[in-house]
């Protein structure tokens, strides 16, 4: 609540009295500050979460670390600002954060009416439902009359309304301001079902008092292309975010990893040479150094490495690559070429 008020107040004053941003403004201000401010989740296992020591980890967190690495050659030069769903866009609009990397769905209204851009999709997702096993429900189509806990200010609460309307079913929605409140209410028995992005379901289930008492229903009711967001208008900054993610994808495709990136610099493969900056001046074109991608891969790893470590086999979530596999492996992640 306080957080919300602060960021709203901040946003109001900023938009009342600030003057417009010039080109390259974000990159310059980040360099000047000496660190990147990254809007992150308040705590979503595998995607963005601080540990007991306050170290942030997760797939979305890694993207911010990768951007910092590309700029400063140091992945720790990031300040994470945890944002609840309903505060996140105001915080980005007002300049409180430089980039929002927090399981946010790219939609047309967010892109065009909130003054934002979504340069890339770093996780293809869809919305699902979780219920208690003892309810004996095995499909979302059986949820007629159920009460459902969800979080405010999300695409989730809109999809929910759409789905029940389209299937001619009744439901009772109970909406909360934060994911903490939402999940606690579900766990305490206020609702029959809990709904959010499928990734979020798996992450939240780990928080349940008895995770094995809950199942995720098979239906995926929406498209949730999750990705980082930046302010509309600073195209250079958007380019940096776009190319950092694409560098991680291309690195995975070309077999460049955290471990072998230094050796790969001597590779004769022209694609690798352009990626790692031993040929061409691609880094300079976006206001960085030409070894920008080396920095990203050296400190954070390629997309596959980040995925497996945070949400895949190396994590408690054990999410399959699925749609997030590279296009060469039947997935949707497609690195656009560096050339």
């Amino acid at each position: 609540m306080k957080k919300a008020l602060v960021s709203i107040a901040f946003g109001l004053t900023a938009s009342l009295f600030a003057t417009g941003a010039s080109a390259q403004a974000t990159l310059n201000s980040v360099k000047q500050k000496g660190f990147l401010t990254c809007g992150s989740n308040t705590g979503l296992a595998g995607f963005g979460q601080p540990d007991a020591q306050g170290n942030w980890t997760g797939l979305d967190v890694d993207l911010c670390r990768a951007i910092a690495a590309a700029i400063f050659d140091d992945p720790t030069k990031v300040r994470f600002i945890p944002l609840a769903a309903k505060d996140r866009f105001t915080a980005l609009q007002s300049g409180e954060v430089d980039v929002l990397s927090r399981n946010s769905t790219a939609t047309m209204s967010r892109d065009t009416q909130l003054g934002l851009d979504f340069p890339v999709i770093n996780y293809f997702d869809g919305q699902g439902f979780m219920v208690r096993k003892k309810l004996g429900v095995s499909s979302a189509k059986e949820l007629n009359g159920a009460s459902i806990c969800t979080q405010q200010g999300t695409t989730t609460e809109l999809n929910l309304a759409d789905y029940f309307r389209a299937n001619n079913m009744k439901y009772e929605v109970v909406a909360f301001a934060t994911s903490d409140e939402t999940f606690k209410a579900y766990d305490a028995g206020r609702c029959d079902a809990f709904t959010t992005d499928a990734s979020g379901l798996y992450a939240e289930r780990l928080r349940a008092s008895a995770p094995d008492d809950h199942i995720v229903l098979p239906e995926i009711i929406s498209k949730e292309p999750l990705g980082p967001a930046v302010r509309h208008g600073d195209n250079n900054w958007g380019d940096i975010v776009r190319w950092v993610h694409n560098a991680m994808l291309n690195a995975e495709e070309l077999g460049v990893t955290k471990a072998n990136v230094e050796q790969m610099k001597t590779s004769t493969n022209p694609e690798i040479k352009r990626l790692l900056g031993t040929e061409g001046k691609f880094g300079e074109a976006i206001g960085l150094t030409n070894d920008w991608a080396v920095r990203v891969i050296k400190h954070v790893g390629n997309y596959g490495e980040s995925f497996e470590k945070n949400v895949g086999e190396g994590s408690r979530l054990k999410i399959k690559r699925g749609q997030n596999a590279l296009w060469t492996k039947g997935g949707l992640q497609y690195g656009i070429p560096v050339r």
Binding site: M1, A4, I8, G11, L12, S15, L16, F17, A18, T19, G20, A85, K86, F89, T90, Q93, S109, R110, T112, Q113, L114, G115, L135, E142, L143, N144, G145, A146, S147, Q152, G153, E157, L158, L160, A161, D162, R165, Y171, E172, V173, V174, A175, F176, A177, E181, K184, A185, A188, G189, R190, D192, R231, H232, G233
Partner: protein, 400 residues
């Protein structure tokens, strides 16, 4: 005449030096400067929003909302409802919890305030502990306590607690029979109206009679008979005639929960409980202070005139205490209304939760939404103050 005027008026000075003119001049300048500042801020904001490609203006209120709300006092659905409708839903939810809250907290607050002054040691101390505990724990904590305690203690819908007379309780709320109006409901309404008018007339007559002769009439009993007895009798009569004016739809067991009937959400109950018990602690102190402010001589004088303690309290002490009580009581009413916005923490869809939460986020129009919300709270507060001031004036000492 004219010479007299010119004699008494001061020597002619330039009107520039007239302090009154100067005063007005400075005030006009100040007002103009403030208006200019607001104008600048507004145009600058609009310009900045447009440059940042952020939507602005109030047109969004007519757009389809696309989300549902748990408690709606007007017809509202994701399909047909607009953001403007969602605003009204939230506003009504705020008003309803505030109005019911003010009613109960006044009652509870007076009870506890009077109890604190009780000569009974136990009663006085229980009241004191109540006041000290409730006003010293932050309201947010109390709300979370009520919500989690209420939720945690209640059974799941499949094991609903049956309380008789169509009342059920479970973790989805309180369920009760929904009255369905029959064709003859107008008879009942008419009888009730007759009862109300009759009571008012009788009260006037009783007062006049007392002023003339000093004889008292059983106003309470007559009112009860007219307001309750008469309608109930009519109802029974109509039912016997086979045209029951009110029938009840009882909650039934559904797949997940009880369906049909009426449902009071646990969020509402928790918020109401929290607001009522918290504000009552403050009102109790105000009432105690008000009663103590009435000089003891008044009580003694009433006693020597033969009034019983209850009558003394009702007829002598409280009316005088009210003059001290009303102004701070008004601020407690305003506090309760504004505190109802803590609903966000427990998912009750009040104005702040629905409008500043969901609508602000789905539309991204922070400035408009915040300005509207502030305007609403300001209006509610001013209207409450207005009526309380009227009441205050009526209760003020009438100098004779």
């Amino acid at each position: 005449m004219q010479t007299a005027v010119s004699q008494t008026s001061p020597p002619k000075k330039s009107f520039l030096y007239d302090p009154k003119v100067r005063g007005i001049f400075y005030q006009v300048v100040l007002v103009a400067a403030i208006i200019f500042l607001f104008y600048m801020a507004a145009t600058n904001a609009i310009e900045n929003l447009q440059r940042a490609k952020i939507a602005s203006g109030f047109g969004f209120l007519n757009n389809t909302a696309g989300f549902d709300i748990s408690q709606t006092l007007i017809q509202f659905s994701a399909a047909g409802g607009t953001y403007g409708d969602a605003f009204i839903v939230g506003l009504l939810n705020t008003l309803v919890v505030s109005a019911i809250g003010i009613f109960f907290t006044t009652f509870l607050g007076f009870l506890i305030g009077i109890a604190r002054l009780s000569k009974n040691w136990v009663v006085a101390n229980v009241a004191m502990v109540y006041v000290e505990v409730l006003r010293n724990v932050p309201l947010l904590v109390q709300l979370l306590f009520w919500y989690i305690a209420v939720l945690g203690a209640l059974p799941q819908p499949r094991n609903s607690l049956e309380m008789g007379a169509g009342f059920y309780l479970n973790s989805r709320g309180l369920f009760m029979a929904r009255p369905l109006w029959g064709d003859t409901i107008w008879v009942l309404v008419a009888v009730l109206a007759i009862g109300i008018v009759g009571t008012l007339l009788y009260r006037r007559w009783a007062k006049q009679q007392q002023e003339r002769t000093g004889r008292q009439s059983p106003v309470g009993k007559v009112a009860l008979a007219l307001l309750l007895g008469l309608p109930i009798l009519t109802w029974i009569l109509l039912a016997l005639l086979g045209t029951n004016p009110i029938t009840f739809e009882l909650p039934r067991k559904g797949t997940f929960n009880l369906t049909g009937g009426m449902q009071v959400l646990p969020e509402f109950v928790a918020l109401l409980l929290g607001l009522v018990t918290y504000t009552a602690a403050f009102i109790a102190e105000i009432v105690r202070a008000g009663i103590l402010a009435v000089s003891k001589g008044q009580t003694e004088a009433a006693g020597s005139l033969g009034l019983k303690p209850g009558q003394t309290l009702r007829l002598v002490v409280v009316p005088q205490a009210m003059r001290v009580i009303i102004p701070p009581l008004t601020s407690q009413y305003l506090n309760l209304t504004k505190n109802s916005s803590l609903a966000v923490a427990i998912g009750y869809p009040d104005l702040v939760q629905v409008f500043m939460g969901t609508v602000l986020n789905q539309t991204g129009q922070a400035i408009e939404v915040v300005v509207i919300t502030m305007g609403v709270y300001l209006t509610i507060s001013l209207v409450t103050s207005f009526f309380m001031n009227i009441y205050n004036r009526r209760m003020a000492i009438v100098e004779r």
